[in-house]
Assembly symmetry: C2
Homo-oligomer: 347 residues x 2
């Protein structure tokens, strides 16, 4: 039935078996598998057919050990359940796959200890390169230590200054434009929800918001800045908290879309509707943002291409060109219904 010999015994088929079966040396088999041009077509056929007959499967671990070259790359994500990071991962994976690399993936859930564990595990596996979205609390020294490990590293969604490759959206500019949009709609009291001050991305986005507020001569109530994990719950509780203030804001910029989704449910729970009773803008423009109730105004990030860019950068560095590069991708404000028309005006 099956042309292949079923290897019922536990021993695996190796290059040596192929060599014996094809009547050549193991070196020749190796050459064939590396598609070396210096083996005669006829010999190649013989070897290939033996490989097929015996059901041989290449052992990349052994090859890697001997050649000191690996086709494994690492991908450290801090929140894979956030659609933004999932989209990013998809872009990265696509490029790596096309280039013949296969990624380890790890989800740190913003936990530095977990991050340290997976980084160690990945180095033990001798990865050729790494893309990492550093968990909150990662110190620059932690990243710097990676460079001693012998593989190129690209930071995603977090810059670390010259000397480190990174790929980020233009957080500051995006946040600033989103805030200006709210101001133009007449809002004077605008809040910022989500993220922690010790996260660089939060710093930039919050900084953009602050810059816009200051440029418009608007005072900032410290109570309008609600820190928290970048998830739905954070958004829901932030909006609840802020609406009870004396000096309640009439609009908010969120650290990201997921936080904004939480705000949406928080508003709904109080019978309020975004875009009418409260103006809301997110950040990232994940696919779901256009389907929310109401559709979410947000800062569009070209996520997939950001991921692809990161992957290409790693590949370039693996290729020997190790010059670091800091790539900042352009962003766009996408106005949908959640930032609304004209409430809060005239105040």
């Amino acid at each position: 039935m099956n042309a292949r010999e079923t290897p019922s015994s536990a021993t695996r088929v190796t290059m040596i078996d192929i060599a014996r079966h094809a009547g050549v040396s193991k070196s020749t088999v190796s050459l064939v598998l590396q598609a070396s041009p210096q083996v005669k077509a006829e010999t190649r056929e013989k070897v290939l057919s033996s490989i097929d007959k015996l059901g041989y499967v290449y052992n990349r671990g052994a090859a890697n050990l001997r050649s000191a070259r690996s086709n494994i790359v690492g991908m450290v994500i801090n929140d894979l359940a956030n659609p933004f990071f999932a989209e990013l991962a998809v872009g990265i994976e696509r490029v790596f796959h096309a280039a013949g690399y296969i990624p380890f993936i790890a989800n740190t859930i913003e936990n530095p200890r977990r991050q340290a564990e997976v980084l160690r595990s990945m180095s033990e596996h001798d990865i050729a390169g790494l893309i990492i979205c550093p968990a909150r609390g990662t110190r620059p020294a932690d990243i710097a230590a990676l460079s001693g490990l012998g593989f190129p590293t690209v930071l995603a969604m977090r810059r670390m200054g010259p000397g480190f490759s990174s790929v980020t959206p233009d957080n500051l500019r995006g946040a600033r434009r989103a805030t200006e949009h709210l101001i133009a709609l007449g809002h004077r009291r605008i809040a910022f929800f989500g993220g922690y001050a010790d996260m660089i991305a939060q710093n930039d986005r919050c900084g953009g918001w602050r810059a816009a507020m200051e440029a418009a001569d608007l005072a900032i109530d410290p109570g309008w800045i609600i820190e928290g994990p970048p998830n739905r719950d954070c958004g829901a509780s932030a909006i609840a908290r802020v609406l009870d203030m004396d000096n309640a804001p009439t609009a908010a910029l969120c650290f990201n879309d997921v936080v904004a989704f939480g705000v949406l449910s928080g508003l709904e729970r109080r019978g309020l509707v975004a875009g009418k009773d409260f103006a809301l803008v997110g950040f990232d423009d994940v696919a779901e943002a256009r389907h929310t109730n109401p559709p979410l105004s947000t800062v569009h990030v070209d996520t997939a291409s950001l991921g692809e860019r990161a992957a290409h950068l790693v590949l370039r560095m693996i290729g020997g060109d190790t010059r670091p590069e800091e790539f900042v991708s352009d962003v766009d404000l996408v106005v949908r219904a959640s930032s609304g028309g004209s409430i809060g005006r005239g105040e």
Copy 2:
């Protein structure tokens, strides 16, 4: 400054270097690293300190080669951009990480050729086990071939009968209950959107819909079944197509939430609102479902625990207990606004 000697030269630190530095044999170093109880505490300390001083990093590839045991597992997902699969992946990754395994991840985007490529790549890396959500068009023989490769395989979201381990939600029952819900609301013409008939999951979900229709003695117009890829576009175009029929349905069950999201935008584009002008139910209950406009009625799947279950199953099989298990997880109908009140009643 740094206690570690910076290995400026290209040669990596190996167990032999540690052995030399600690004044023991490489075997002893190996024993220490395997936490063998048969090495004296004092020796262990010596070795550990040398490891720390020289900045040694364990080479799992070499270990794996010699011991024929791997701590890599494979995870083949067909659409990581779908939040459902992302949630699934998170659950799986969590369990594997805790058990000391590290996953390769690959996104097949429903492409069998890509799937074949990644499976080959994973076998070449000698994975210890595999969880796969088979791409559309995967034949049972393709999966059966995997079992000859020497690692346990668990199917996720697709059964393949006894002999194969799998983990799936109760698709048939979920779809049936969702449809009964729509029927109870008075709908008589109910459509089914998304997926292809050659996908098992679609078969089951569509089958559940059909069963409920038949049980209620409702005729099915073949035009109500719109096949397509399980993504937003499919939902958007399906609703557009169906609303122009003579015999237009007043409600629809979608293959999954993402398709339902597309229907939501399709409806909006025509100025219709789900739950009022058309009743809509999704499947999966991804996190975003409660934030859509209007919130989506859907069949709740306990995704994370489904993923965890799959991972535990693989681990059990790696552990030597290779009895296959078909796990079917319970589902629940979650009624939100999109399935609405009472339109379409009375025909």
